[in-house]
Structures are given as C-alpha cells and as structure tokens.
C-alpha cells in the first residue's frame, strides 16, 4: 500500500469569537462526500488549540471559516504553525475577507481565500490538490 491511497485529512475549525459554524459544517460535509476525512472541532478555538489539534491529527490542510473579523487572527496562526514545525500544512480561509486583508493573508502563506458564494466545485478540488501536494512533500517519520 502506498501513502497516496489514504484520503486527504482536513481540519475544519473556527478561531476567534464568532460562533457561527454553519458554513464550516456545510463545507466539511462536502469534503466528506468528496472522500476526505474531516476533523471537525466547532467554533471558538484558540490558536494553541488549533496547533495542538493539527499536530495530533497530522492533518494535510487546515480550513478556517471566518464570518466576522476572525481572519485577522490568521497571520498569528501561520506564525504559530511555523514555530511548531507545522509549516508544511496547507491553510485555506473561507468567509468575508476584504481584498486588502486577502493580500495580507496570501503574503503570509495562506494558500487561498474563498469568498461567500464560492462554489463547492471550486473549493473541493482545490483542497484535494493542496492536500495531495502537502502529502507528497512530506513522507517518512
């Protein structure tokens, strides 16, 4: 059996104070239906909690859903990933993110920002490809 046979593993989570995790739930379901394994945590996670979860679960991709201004915490998350040896993990953000903030997020290493109304036909293949790239770059113990 080769490494590539296992389904992509994605952490769907929410940082910050906003508790609406419906969007994240919907995306998680679609990723599941596309054959991925999705760890779902619910809202209100702190950055150290996301880091610990990503590490324990050894995920390929983290999906952050952000409704309010939670995406402003993402640069902190990216730095924390690096500090904890998790810089291989792909990060995507979904939600209401102004253009200027989007540029900032991409500059700190976020793979992609999905805006409201982004189609699942767009999100699912992107996450799948991202996960497979991460996996390929990272084999062995």
């Amino acid at each position: 059996m080769t490494t590539d046979l296992r389904p992509p593993k994605v952490l769907m989570t929410k940082i910050g104070l906003d508790g609406h995790d419906r969007g994240g739930r919907v995306v998680a379901t679609y990723l599941r239906d596309a054959g991925m394994e999705v760890v779902f945590t619910g809202p209100w996670k702190s950055i150290p909690e996301v880091i610990a979860t990503a590490q324990e679960e050894d995920v390929d991709v983290i999906g952050i859903s952000s409704l309010a201004s939670d995406h402003l915490l993402v640069p902190k998350l990216m730095a924390a990933l690096r500090e904890n040896g998790l810089d291989h993990v792909g990060v995507v953000v979904g939600g209401i993110v102004p253009d200027r903030d989007e540029r900032d997020l991409l500059a700190v290493g976020v793979a992609r920002v999905f805006h409201p109304g982004a189609s699942l036909d767009e999100i699912v293949p992107f996450v799948d490809r991202l996960a497979k790239n991460v996996r390929q770059r990272r084999q062995g113990l």
């Binding site: 046979l5 389904p7 991925m36 999705v38 760890v39 150290p48 679960e57 113990l141």
Partner: protein, 309 residues
C-alpha cells in the same frame, strides 16, 4: 530509526503523531515502527468505550480524562468514527466534546476513520493504540460507535470494555442486548440527569442477573458526563477491572500470537490472490463440479502460493 524511537519514548508529540500516521496508513515505515515498538508494549491501561450514537461517549471521555489527569496519569485517546461506505470520506467529530484538554501535553487525541475494510479497523486501531502505549501514555482510551461490527473488533483490542447507554431509548437497550452485552465489563447509564435513567439501569441489571459471573461482577454505573458526576466511580471500576484483566491474561505473548496469526491470514489471502487466473480458475472448476472439497482446494492453492513466493 533509533533516533526516532528515542523521541517517541521521551513523549515527543510530533513523533507520536507521525508514527501513528505511519501505522494508520500502512506507509513504508509502518513495519519498522511496529517492530521497534514491540518490546515497549503492555504498559498502558487500554479501555474501550462503546455504545449507541449520541449516548455521550465523547463527553464521558472528556470527564474521565479530567479525573485521570487529577490522578497524575497521562492519556491517549483514539476516537473512531465511521467512514462513508460510498465515498470513503468521514466526519471525525468526537473532538467537539473533548475540547477541555487541548493544550495539555498530558493528553493526546487522535481521530480515526473506520475506513470500512474488513478487519481493518481492529488492525489499524490496534496498532495506533500500540504506538500510544509505546510512547508512554498511562491510559489509552478507544471510542467506537456501538453499531455493527466495530465494537466486537474493539473487544479484541481493549482488555477493559465500557458500554455506555442513555436513558429513555428503549430500543438502544435492545440493540445493546444483541451485540454488546457479551463484551461489556462495565455498564454506564449516562445522562442520569434525565428522567428514566433508573429504569434503564434497572433493565440492564435485570439482563445481567441472567448472566453467569465469575471473578468480575459487571457493575452498572450512573453518570452525568456533562456535570462530571459519577466519574470517580467509573475511573475506579475501570482501574479495578484492568488490574484483574492483567492478572488473568498473559497480555504481550497472547497479543503477539494473535498478530502473527492475523498477519499470516493476510499474507495467505494476498499470495493466493496473486496466483495467475488460470490456476485459480482450475480450482474453481474442480470445486464447482464437485471434484474437490473447498478446504482441499484452499490447501492446495495455499501450498502453490507458498511455493511461488
């Protein structure tokens, strides 16, 4: 390799996570991992927690972890959720109720999808438990949904099995009767804050009265996982049962024997499947025509496959 083993034994979380991935996915490193950890197995208390969907297993585990941490023990959790048989995907949601401990280095939670291949859950989950055991976790908790085959598979891995029921779900007791009664070492009626908890506990006790008991009398405990009630008694019962189970079975040797048998069965299946179609066809014809018994055919196919390899 030894480098890696040292880090694992020292409790390094990143190494633990990667080693679990290796055995979970049967990557090229998996065999080396299993070989290296085998001498370090058998120290952890392994407890299986099963029961119908929504009974409160994850919430109960969250509360149990708190008690274990207060008692100075480190914890590993393996939380298994079903994979979709159609797409192979899975939502791994048990962490939603176990959020109380992220950030505590003494707790390591890993979610697994059952991935539905025959016998696969028990093998993969068993190996994940082994890696946690070798990493020095004092207690390893395995959560599985008690619907179908999985709980019986887990019964083979966890020497101590807790079956969780919730009140007011009469059907659940029926379901438990069918499958899980045989494997339970401890019964928990969770959500004891709800009406009818006593009735559910009573039903379980009635059922147990019909059962012979040897050294271990299966307790029926009431808990309110959401409020941490009844958890001390549960932790005590688990510890007591584990102690008894330890003295009554020679764990590592029995495990090794089982694993060798399981691997051999796997090997046999794969090498027979690797025989050319013509050879297999020939056996099929003979079996179908009544010229050859099934067992005889299997023996010959196996002999041929072994001769080839």
């Amino acid at each position: 390799m030894s480098d890696w083993l040292e880090r694992l034994r020292a409790g390094d979380r990143a190494t633990l996570a990667r080693a679990i991935t290796a055995v979970e996915n049967e990557t090229p490193e998996a065999r080396a991992v299993l070989k290296a950890i085998f001498p370090h197995l058998g120290k952890a208390l392994v407890v299986g927690i099963t029961g119908p969907p929504g009974a409160g297993k994850s919430t109960l585990i969250n509360a149990y972890i708190e008690t274990l941490r207060a008692r100075g023990q480190t914890v590993g959790v393996v939380a298994v959720d079903p994979s979709s048989p159609i797409t192979g995907g899975a939502i791994l949601g048990d962490r939603i109720r176990m959020g109380g401990h992220s950030g505590d280095p003494g707790v390591f939670v890993r979610s697994l999808a059952s991935r539905g291949h025959l016998g696969g859950l028990s093998r993969t989950a068993a190996h994940v438990i082994d890696v946690m055991d070798a990493s020095g976790r004092d207690v390893v908790i395995v959560e599985t949904v008690g619907a179908g085959q999985s709980e019986v598979e887990v019964a083979e891995i966890a020497p101590t099995k807790v079956v969780v029921a919730a009140p007011g779900l009469g059907d659940d007791i029926q379901a438990i009767k069918a499958g899980i009664l045989e494997i339970a070492d401890i019964f928990v009626v969770n959500k004891a804050d709800l009406p009818l908890a006593d009735r559910t506990a009573g039903q379980l006790l009635d059922m147990l009265r019909l059962k012979d008991h040897g050294e271990w009398r299966i307790p029926v405990l009431k808990t309110v996982a959401l409020k941490n009630e009844g958890i001390e008694a549960l932790a005590d019962a688990i510890a007591q049962h584990a102690k008894l189970a330890e003295t009554s079975r020679p764990a590592p040797r029995a495990r090794a024997a089982k694993l060798i048998a399981a691997q051999a069965a796997d090997l046999a299946r794969r090498s027979i499947q690797a025989l050319e179609e013509k050879v297999i066809d020939d056996y099929c014809d003979q079996v179908l025509s009544g010229a050859l018994e099934l067992e005889e055919a299997a023996q010959r196919a196996l002999a041929k496959a072994i001769a080839r390899s």
